[in-house]
Structure formats: C-alpha cells, structure tokens
C-alpha cells in the first residue's frame, strides 16, 4: 500500500493562514490531528463512506465529519429532498410548511417529547435548552460533567479558556461522570438554585476513553432532578439517531425534559433541534432565541428525508452491529501484531486506543499510518459508523489497519519511532 502526500492541501493551507485565523479554526483545525503531516487538510469531494482530498487521495471517513454524516456522503434520498426544496424556496420571508412537517415527525419519532424547535448548530440548542430551564425554574446554575462538551459558547467552555471570564463560567458547576454522589452534594450546596443538569448519553471526552453510564446512573440522576425540580437536558447532539431512533434516552432507559439534536439529524445539512416535554413548552415559547438562517427550508426537507430513511433501514441496529464487527476484528489484528487495542463506548461510535503506551504517542503514530493509507482515524476523538460503512468498506479498513500495525511494528523494531 502506498502512503499519501498532501502537497496541494499544504499549499492551500498557507494561503488560508493569510486570511483566516489559525488557517482552519475550531474543531476542524488540523492541529489536533497528530502528527499533522499524516493527515489531509482539505476535501474536494465525497461519496458514501469516503471523501477525496484536494490531492486526489481517497479516505474512508471514520470521523463522518465529526458526526453529521450518517447515511453516507451524497445520499440520493436526502440530497433529492433538499434539491426539490431548494428549487421551491429556502430562506424566505415566511418559514416553509416543512417546519411543521418536521416538527410533527420528530414528535412522533422521539419518545416522550412533545414539541420541537429548530436552529442551525448544536450550541444554538444547548444554549436555548439552558435558557428554557432557567426561565422555567427561575434558577441560575447548570450542572455539567467534567470533560463534557456542549458547544463553544463562553459559558460552556472551561474557565480560563481564551475569551472566557469567571463571570461566564460562574454558573456552571462540573462533576465527574458516573458520580451521583457528587450531584447530590451539589444539590445540597446550591439548594433551589440549580436550573438544569446537562450531559451526553454516555461520556465522550476528547483525548480520553469513552465511559458508559454505570448501572442505574441515569435513573438516579433523573430521580434527583424530579425531586429537586431540576430540568434534565440530554445532549443527544453527537449520539442522536445512532443508538436509537426514538432518542438515546430510550437506549439507556430514562426520560429527560429536553433533548438537543444536531449532527446526524439531516446527514450534514445544517439544522439542529431542541425537543421538550409539554411541561416546558410554555417556558420555551417565552424565551427569545433566533437566527437568520434557522427557518431554512431545504435542511428541514433534508432532515425529514434523512430520518425517514434511517427509520426505514433500522439504522441504529445495523450500525451498532457493523461497529461491533469492525472493532472486534480490529482488536484481533492489533493482538496479532503484539498490541492491545482498547475499545470503549458504544460500538456505533467507539473510541479506540493503543493501550500499550500511556503517553498515547504510539496510538497517534498508528492513527496517522491508517490515515495516510486511506482510513481517516483521529487519535483524540471517538469514531463514527455510518450506513455507508458496508462490508466492503470494513474489509478495506481492516487491510489498512493491518498494514498500519505492521508499519508501526517495523518502526519500533528499527528504533525509528520518533515521538
């Protein structure tokens, strides 16, 4: 297998640095792909489970654009729905009937939720969820999980991150994942001033193994919220429609008050949604939260088509099975080369890590070797399985991983591992 080079990507990046902060800012920054020289920087086209960079290199995408891609890039069903809608009207003075259709479909689909609100990005709806909770309860504090990510708004980033002030962070209290006792302690300390508890269905902190909820965790959290009048917000932005079409809360057996969706909602078309129970609809209607493009019709049409297709294909079950197959075989390959691959989280969006090196450097090298052979795997983030990761894709992936393990072994044996 030949390995890729990225000349055109790097040339484009140099141009970008002159006119864009960081060259590529935010979560798409190539700086976190370690080592950067092993990774492409710009995509030219995409189809199915793959994308091609501007140097013509083909990649099986295991990041799925960090989640939005779920049916495959360029899925005809979704794209046709969007095209049809674009031809009619997209951003206009009045919203489209698609907004009503999508809200009705979501209310029917997602268990326990009785209304839906639409925006563009995940942070739009996590922000809205917190405002709704504060409006409904009259309280200030929000409890979140250490390492939990709910968008880049100042209040949700860690204290001392650039641009974040103590005032921004003062109303967010962080506790460890799976620690119900810590939540009880906070409740006792901030009696009657906690508006909301927000968390992802399982813990997916970057640079760390994923952690599933312990037995009874969510039912205990829910019970505390009910007892104390705290709004339970499920951030289903990353997981949504990958674990269960009715919502990830059904997968783990609890009922939130508000659920945030984004990413896979429309297979990459820009739309997010906050859904909630009837008890919070009045509060939601009183909170003013809006955006110029939040009524865009084409992403709504795309979302409808995407959700119907996912439901038709029983997507979560299929993707979980693909993930189980892929990661168990990947682990066997690792063992055959003398490595230990630790797989954590749910198979449909697992985190993988070479456990042989506590510094992560070997894992970073291996991920880079996979990527420059055509399986894009980031070392710092959970992976994603989509409906496009079929048997042929898995087979090709495993061949790449096998060669990457062999390459890593060779580097170590020759003393060439330069971390």
């Amino acid at each position: 297998m030949s390995t890729y080079t990225y000349k055109r990507s790097q040339e484009l990046f140099e141009r970008a640095c002159s006119v864009i902060p960081c060259g590529i800012p935010g979560h798409m920054s190539p700086a976190v792909n370690v080592p950067p020289a092993s990774y492409p920087i710009y995509a030219a086209k995409a189809k199915g489970a793959c994308f091609w960079d501007v140097d013509g290199n083909e990649f099986i995408d295991y990041m799925c654009a960090y989640g939005p891609m779920i049916l495959g890039y360029g899925n005809e069903v979704v794209d046709d729905a969007a095209r049809l809608q674009y031809a009619l009207a997209d951003t206009t003075m009045c919203p489209s009937p698609k907004m009503v259709e999508l809200a009705e479909f979501l209310v029917d689909l997602v268990e326990g939720m009785e209304w839906a609100f639409f925006a563009k990005n995940g942070a739009d709806v996590t922000n809205y969820a917190v405002m709704v909770a504060r409006c409904a309860t009259g309280r200030e504090k929000v409890v979140g999980i250490k390492g939990g990510y709910h968008g880049s708004s100042a209040w949700m980033q860690g204290l001392a991150h650039h641009g974040v002030t103590p005032a921004d962070a003062s109303n967010v209290l962080r506790i460890p994942w799976n620690d119900v006792g810590a939540f009880e302690d906070l409740v006792a300390e901030h009696s009657h001033n906690i508006a909301a508890f927000i968390a992802t269905p399982n813990h997916v902190a970057t640079f760390y193994d994923n952690e599933l909820p312990e037995e009874g965790y969510w039912t205990k959290i829910e019970a505390i919220c009910r007892r104390e009048g705290i709004v339970l917000i499920l951030d289903d932005i990353r997981h949504g429609f990958r674990l269960n079409m009715k919502g990830s809360h059904v997968h783990y057996g609890f009922t939130p008050d508000l659920i945030c969706f984004c990413k896979a909602l429309a297979n990459g078309y820009p739309i997010s949604s906050l859904m909630g129970t009837d008890a919070l609809k009045n509060a939601a209607s009183r909170v003013f939260h809006t955006g110029s493009y939040w009524y865009q019709a084409a992403p709504m049409a795309a979302a409808l088509a995407c959700l119907k297709e996912l439901k038709r294909l029983d997507a979560p079950q299929w993707m979980q099975a693909q993930g189980e197959k892929l990661f168990s075989q990947m682990g066997e390959l690792a063992s055959s080369h003398g490595y230990t691959l630790k797989v954590t989280g749910e198979p449909v969006m697992a985190n993988v890590r070479l456990a042989d090196d506590p510094s992560f450097m070997l894992h970073q090298i291996w991920c880079g070797e996979c990527t420059r052979r055509g399986a894009f795997i980031a070392s710092h983030h959970n992976l994603f399985i989509s409906m496009a990761h079929d048997e042929a894709i898995l087979e090709k992936t495993l061949a790449i991983c096998d060669e990457a393990f062999a390459a890593l072994k060779g580097y170590q044996e020759r003393g060439e591992v330069v971390c």
């Binding site: 990046f13 060259g23 590529i24 920054s29 991150h161 640079f207 992560f360």
Partner: protein, 253 residues
C-alpha cells in the same frame, strides 16, 4: 488571591529567579557577575522569599530564606516588591549596608540585562543571539510562572486540575533548550525532563519558531498544522499548560 500577591510571586519565583538562567546563557551577564562573591535574600512581609548566590562566575537561585545572606532585602508588601521590580521603589535593606554600592550600581546592571531580554523592542528580534537568549529566558520564566499560577491563580488552579499526571517536555530543536514540568497528584513542578521519556512533548522546529511563539508573534494553530510546532503524547497536558502560559501576561507584561 490578591492580584499583587500573585504578581509578586511570579516576579520573585519566575522572573528574578531566572537571573540564574540569564547568567548561564548570556556571556555579557557572566561578564557582569564574574567577580561577584556574595548572596542576596529577598523577603516579602507575610509572603514568599528567594535567595541568589553569586560565586565563581555563576548564579544559583533558591526558594525560601537563606540563613545568612550577605545582603537581606525586605519588602513591606507584595505591591512594594512589584514596584521595585518596575523600578518605582527601593527595598528596605535589613543587612548589607556595606554593599550599598553593589546594590545601587552593580546589581542593577544584571537586572537591566534581564529586562533587556524580557521586555524587548521589535528591532531586538533581528539579532539571532538575542532571539536565542530571549527564548531560553521566556521558557524558563514560563515554567516557573505556570507552577506558581497552578496554586495561586483561580484560573491557573482550574487549568492545573485538568493536567493529567505525567511529564511535559518543551523542546527547541536542534540543540535546545529543553524545559519541563512534572505533575504528580496535585503538585505541578519544574522538572528536568528528557523528551524521549516524557508523557507529552511540545517541540519547536527551531529557535525562531519558539521565539515567535513565546513573544506572541505567531499563530500557534497554524504553526502546529505546518509542523513548525509539534505536539505529541498527552495533549490535554499541553493544552492546559498552554492556557496557563497565556495567563502570565495578565500579571507580567
């Protein structure tokens, strides 16, 4: 904690303490101190203390009080000490009146030399030797400052708590310097870390890249993508330390 107290702690343990680094890497500084054979103790009332020993053409720095320094300088408050560092106040001499000439005329030559590197003008960066020493000093100051912020500054404590256990090496290729930190339990300390043994490495392609970064003259993310700066290993360690380093200018210009 009080702004002036944190600033004084940084001025004492990160800036003044690095006179030892200055002497080690700057020929002119060694020339200044070549005949010095004495010790100074700095003490802030109800606050930290530091000593400097000049002997045999070298400077050794240490935290805490020295038993019998030749010169003992006292500061009524953290603000007093900070003002002295900014040239707006003088210390109270508790011991060493016979060294008045040294304190007024000779010691300031060394501290002025430190200020020359730590408070540069734009044109100074045109000189390669300046860049080398400026980079070494800034990295050394930064490591000590980060350890102070980890315990004294609210944001620093927050970031420090996110640093996983292990060691971080910050290395300038091809020939150094290398500075390091070690996190064990809650304690963050400056440490002598070999890059090949570190849990995390932040590596600069050369002195020029390092100099640009420590002086706020480069886009770090762009430099990382280009490979001018490389991160390896436990990235959360690098991220947290980087945030703490960016906190330093809040106290020290």
């Amino acid at each position: 904690m009080d702004y002036q107290k944190i600033k004084a702690s940084l001025n004492l343990h990160a800036v003044l303490r690095n006179l030892s680094t200055l002497v080690a890497c700057d020929e002119k500084a060694r020339e200044i101190i070549k005949n010095w054979d004495l010790s100074l103790g700095f003490k802030i009332f109800n606050g930290p203390s530091l000593f400097l020993v000049f002997k045999d053409g070298a400077c050794r720095a240490g935290e805490g009080a020295m038993e019998k320094p030749d010169i003992r300088l006292f500061f009524l408050s953290a603000s007093h000490f900070n003002a002295m560092m900014e040239g707006r106040a003088v210390p109270i001499i508790l011991k060493g009146f016979s060294h008045l000439h040294f304190l007024r005329r000779r010691f300031p030559k060394l501290t002025d030399r430190l200020a020359h590197f730590l408070k540069p003008q734009a044109f100074h960066f045109e000189d390669a030797e300046f860049r080398r020493i400026n980079t070494q000093l800034n990295l050394s100051v930064a490591m000590r400052a980060v350890c102070e912020l980890a315990t004294q500054d609210a944001m620093g404590r927050c970031n420090a708590s996110a640093i996983p256990e292990g060691t971080l090496a910050i290395q300038v290729l091809p020939k150094g310097p290398v500075v390091g930190l070690s996190k064990k339990g809650d304690a963050l300390e400056v440490a002598d870390v070999k890059p090949e043994e570190a849990s995390a490495i932040l590596r600069f392609r050369d002195v020029d890249v390092a100099c640009d970064l420590v002086n706020g003259r480069c886009d770090a993310f762009a430099a990382l993508t280009r490979g001018d700066i490389a991160m390896r290993g436990r990235i959360p360690m690098i991220e947290a330390v980087n945030l703490m380093m960016d906190r330093i200018p809040h106290y020290l210009n």
